[in-house]
């Protein structure tokens, strides 16, 4: 068993977690996922325990990838259809160098063992040792990013729901802004577009980490996606559904004008 593999070689959920395997499958299917590596749960735990050989293994492998990095957990039982650990496990954006990865992995391992994560595990009947696999990818510096549900997760209606804001998508995921809201029908026609109230954008810092940047007034209520970008997102939703099946929850970003897929998982709640 290889403890660290290129993302496109991640095939076993029991080793690298659902997120890594989902992204690996997306890469193999030609979807526009940023390149990266999948680290197994035992490797991450060894790094968290201070094993110097494990740290060296990670640093050497990831040297092939352009820094800075986005580091996300891909815990083995994360993102199941009935429960989601997405809000419990840490994501570290903009880890500046490969040498900084061991500390990042330690933090992520502990986030899965934090009181908040353990409380959640107890609530969903999974009081058991978490196996914390991790995905390391090159971090994008997007102009616009957000989420896309291929089915409306609130009403269950057969329509695309898109929420978007300026900068990194964590501003949307963490609820720091009221994002722009779009509804598209199955054919990609825009049914509804409603500007949000986007006062901040999360941007990567050259020294590592991120900063909340206050946006100029003209961007606060200006729609951050145009029709061409909405059409690209609709096409991406179709491709994701063709590959992974219906009812997907996507995270995406436009960086340097190109659309990237950051995550594609099953929707965990639906009003239907």
């Amino acid at each position: 068993m290889s403890r660290i593999v290129p993302l496109r070689a991640a095939v076993d959920v029991a080793i690298h977690g659902a997120k890594a395997v989902g992204l690996g499958q997306a890469l193999r299917d030609g979807l526009p996922v940023p390149d990266g590596f999948a680290l197994s749960g035992p490797l991450v735990e060894a790094v968290a325990a201070g094993d110097e050989d494990a740290e060296a293994e990670v640093i050497a492998a990831v040297a092939a990838l352009a820094a800075p990095f986005a580091v996300r957990s891909s815990a083995i039982d994360e993102d199941g259809e009935a429960s989601s650990f997405a809000g419990q496990h840490l994501t570290l954006l903009n880890v500046a160098t490969a040498q900084a990865l061991p500390e990042a992995l330690r933090e992520i391992w502990w986030s899965a063992n934090s009181d908040a994560a353990i409380t959640y595990r107890q609530k969903v009947g999974r009081f058991s040792r978490p196996s914390v696999a991790v995905v390391v990818q090159t971090l994008l510096a997007p102009e616009t990013a957000g989420v896309l549900f291929t089915r409306n997760p609130v009403t269950g209606a057969d329509e695309r729901l898109i929420e978007a804001s300026w900068g990194l998508g964590e501003a949307v995921v963490a609820g720091l802004v009221i994002p722009d809201h779009f509804l598209l029908d199955r054919e990609g026609r825009v049914r509804e577009r409603r500007p949000g109230y986007k006062t901040v954008a999360i941007r990567p810092l050259a020294s590592g980490g991120t900063v909340e940047e206050t946006l100029p007034p003209q961007q606060v209520e200006r729609l951050c996606l145009d029709d061409a970008q909405l059409a690209e997102l609709h096409a991406l939703a179709l491709r994701c559904e063709a590959v992974h099946g219906p009812d997907r929850d996507l995270e995406w970003a436009f960086a340097e004008g190109r659309l990237h897929l950051l995550q594609c998982r099953a929707i965990t709640t639906s009003g239907s």
Binding site: G50, W109, S114, D115, R121, F127, R129
Partner: protein
């Protein structure tokens, strides 16, 4: 370096009865865990699966919103979570940057189950501490 430094664990009353070999076995199971000032590490009433020994820094303890005590180097918190699956009994907040070593339920339980001598020594020490806490 793998595991907590022995000299840090030697300061922990809970481990006072363990011999150097037993202490070394437990030390290997600890992982480094640092907290920024102001971080709520443990929330009263929440679930938990980790026990922490403080190497450097200070933490405050409060119960039902009332300040109770301050913890410093060599002191520890969260030990009940190593044994049961019940809710946390106090809130612990980092009063400064806090350098800790953490041990999880998942690592502790197999050690104790496999090594009855260590388990018995810890049980005796905890019983003694319970008596002290009750003022007997």
């Amino acid at each position: 370096m793998r595991g907590a430094p022995i000299d840090v664990l030697q300061r922990v009353p809970l481990f006072a009865d363990l011999n150097p070999g037993e202490l070394a076995q437990i030390a290997l199971l600890f992982k480094e865990r640092d907290f920024d000032q102001g971080t709520t590490i443990i929330q009263e009433g929440s679930g938990g699966a980790a026990f922490f020994v403080i190497e450097a820094g200070e933490a405050t303890v409060s119960i039902r919103g009332t300040p109770h005590s301050t913890l410093g180097p060599g002191e520890y918190f969260g030990e009940i979570a190593l044994i049961d699956e019940g809710p946390r009994m106090a809130t612990i907040t980092a009063a400064s940057r806090l350098d800790c070593w953490g041990l999880t339920y998942w690592d502790f339980r197999p050690l104790v189950e496999a090594n009855g001598v260590i388990g018995w020594k810890l049980l005796q020490r905890m019983a003694m501490m319970l008596r002290d806490a009750r003022g007997q």
